[in-house]
């Protein structure tokens, strides 16, 4: 067998010792800190990405919330305006009704007053007319009774009338 196919004891020994030593030293001073740092960095990046995603979702939620709020506000405003219109209309109608009623009432009162005044005026006219006619009749009578013939004549006519009645 050629020499290079024959593992030498010395090299096996040194390889074992030195390799294990390198393995131990590198594991302690190189691989552990390196792998820890890599893991830490990956975790940081992972976390950052997850947080960014979360922030995005939150932003969307916030935006949706804002829009909802805005829509609600708009809706509320519309509702309020509608209500206000309705109320204003109602108020106006009520006012109008009240005014009409008041006007009617005044008109009625006025009419009644006019009627009363008219009646009073008519009554006065009647009284005055009756008085005037009595006065006139009295004066006429006084002048007529001065002449006895005419007096008799009048009595006769009255009597006739009485008979007739």
């Amino acid at each position: 067998m050629p020499a290079f196919l024959n593992p030498e004891l010395g090299l096996i020994f040194w390889q074992l010792v030195i390799f294990l030593l390198v393995l131990f030293l590198l594991a302690k001073f190189a691989w552990r800190p390196i792998l820890l740092s890599l893991k830490e960095r990956e975790d940081t990046i992972d976390n950052a990405l997850r947080m960014a995603d979360q922030a995005k979702i939150e932003m969307q939620q916030l935006k949706a919330g804002n829009e909802k709020l805005l829509a609600d506000a708009r809706h509320e405003r519309d509702r309020m305006m509608q209500e206000a219109t309705v109320m204003a209309n109602q108020h106006r109608d009520a006012e109008k009704a009240r005014a009409t009623e008041e006007a009617n009432r005044i008109i009625t009162q006025a009419r009644e007053a006019i009627q009363q005044e008219k009646n009073a005026a008519l009554a006065e006219v009647k009284n005055t007319a009756a008085k005037l006619s009595v006065d006139i009749a009295e004066r006429i009578l006084r002048r007529e009774l001065a002449e006895p013939a005419a007096q008799t004549q009048l009595v006769d006519s009255y009597l006739k009338d009485v008979k007739l009645n």
Binding site: P2, A27, S37, T44
Partner: protein
């Protein structure tokens, strides 16, 4: 993989056969590609950088490396490899074909800092430097974007974590990350370092790949749960008469998996080196400048291919390791019941440990 292995074996057998007559003839000819290649992919007690001059007058420029030897009779000895150069002996030890032996023929355990061990130490230091720097980057740029070295390695680390470990092991992947990352970068770094001129062939050394494969095996067995053993000793959905065969096959599977890891990495990297060196050797075999463009083109092509293989093999080793671990820690799933019917389901429930 199989094709690469057979190519490798072709090279091995060729060079082995070529070695015997060439060894005698080499003094006259001066260049033996088989010998040169085997020397390059093998280990050495010195770090050979260059040879100046030719034949008898050649000057070898090389760095001597420490020799550490344990002899049961004499105990531990440690000295510079320079003492053993040119066949000299020191402390009763000498080098025979770059193999440390005692002059009196007694047993020697060679723990020398060879070229591969030195390269191993260098790559270990480099890895510690690079990845502690990366880790510092995470402290410095805490909570900020990565920069510099950190941003170069971060995608690779994340790839290993997400595409290899998480997908194949499942929720328990975190415990295995240090081993997977260390194995991946160890193999990748050493594959790349091995491509440098004059560098050692560390990740193409069977001792190195064996240790890595054995560690994978140990981790797999240590983290195995009862489902893993139930699959081996009472494979769900297998008729009872077949079980004895299946148990043998599945049991062998425990060891063939890491064995394939060992061979795959070793063969791929060594084969790559052999191919590059073979193209370079063509210049010396033909002794002509005319062959240089071909050599350069093919050498460059293979070298660039090797850059890809360097990371690919690191990836495959890590991927298969995590698949084996994933098989060992996997929780029971209901598909097994449906295939096996009542019988298999009952057997799968029996704890096999």
């Amino acid at each position: 993989m199989k094709r690469l292995l057979s190519i490798l074996l072709c090279f091995v057998s060729l060079s082995v056969f070529a070695n015997e007559p060439a060894a005698e003839a080499s003094k006259g000819e001066g260049f033996n590609p088989g010998e040169m290649i085997l020397e390059h992919i093998g280990d050495s007690h010195e770090w050979h950088l260059a040879t100046l001059g030719e034949g008898e007058h050649a000057t070898h420029v090389s760095v001597p490396l420490p020799i550490i030897a344990y002899q049961p009779t004499k105990g531990l000895s440690m000295f510079s490899g320079g003492q053993l150069a040119h066949g000299h002996s020191h402390n009763g030890l000498k080098l025979e074909h770059d193999k440390l032996v005692a002059e009196d023929g007694s047993k020697v355990y060679d723990f020398s800092i060879t070229k591969n061990t030195a390269s191993l130490l260098f790559s270990a230091a480099l890895m510690l430097f690079v990845f502690t720097a990366v880790a510092r980057g995470y402290k410095k740029n805490h909570g900020r974007a990565p920069s510099g070295l950190q941003s170069f390695f971060e995608p690779v680390i994340i790839f290993i974590r997400d595409e290899i470990a998480k997908k194949n092991i499942g929720p328990k992947y975190e415990r295995y990350m240090p081993y997977l990352l260390t194995a991946f970068f160890f193999i990748w770094f050493n594959n790349l370092l091995g491509l440098m001129p004059g560098a050692a062939n560390l990740s193409g050394n069977i001792a190195v790949t064996m240790v890595l494969a054995v560690l994978t095996l140990i981790i797999t067995l240590a983290s195995s749960n009862k489902n893993y053993w139930a699959h081996i000793f009472a494979t769900p959905g297998v008729p009872k008469p077949l079980l004895p065969i299946m148990i043998v096959v599945e049991f062998l599977g425990i060891f063939t998996k890491p064995f394939s890891l060992m061979i795959r990495l070793f063969a791929n990297i060594t084969a790559g080196h052999i191919v590059v060196l073979s193209f370079i050797s063509l210049v010396f075999i033909f002794k002509s400048w005319a062959v240089a463009p071909v050599t350069l083109a093919f050498g460059l092509f293979i070298n660039i291919l090797e850059l890809l293989v360097a990371i690919l093999q690191a990836f495959i080793f890590t991927l298969l390791t995590s698949m084996y671990i994933g098989g060992a820690v996997e929780e029971h799933h209901d598909a097994d019941f449906q295939i096996g019917g009542g019988d298999g389901a009952d057997q799968a429930h029996v704890p096999a440990h």
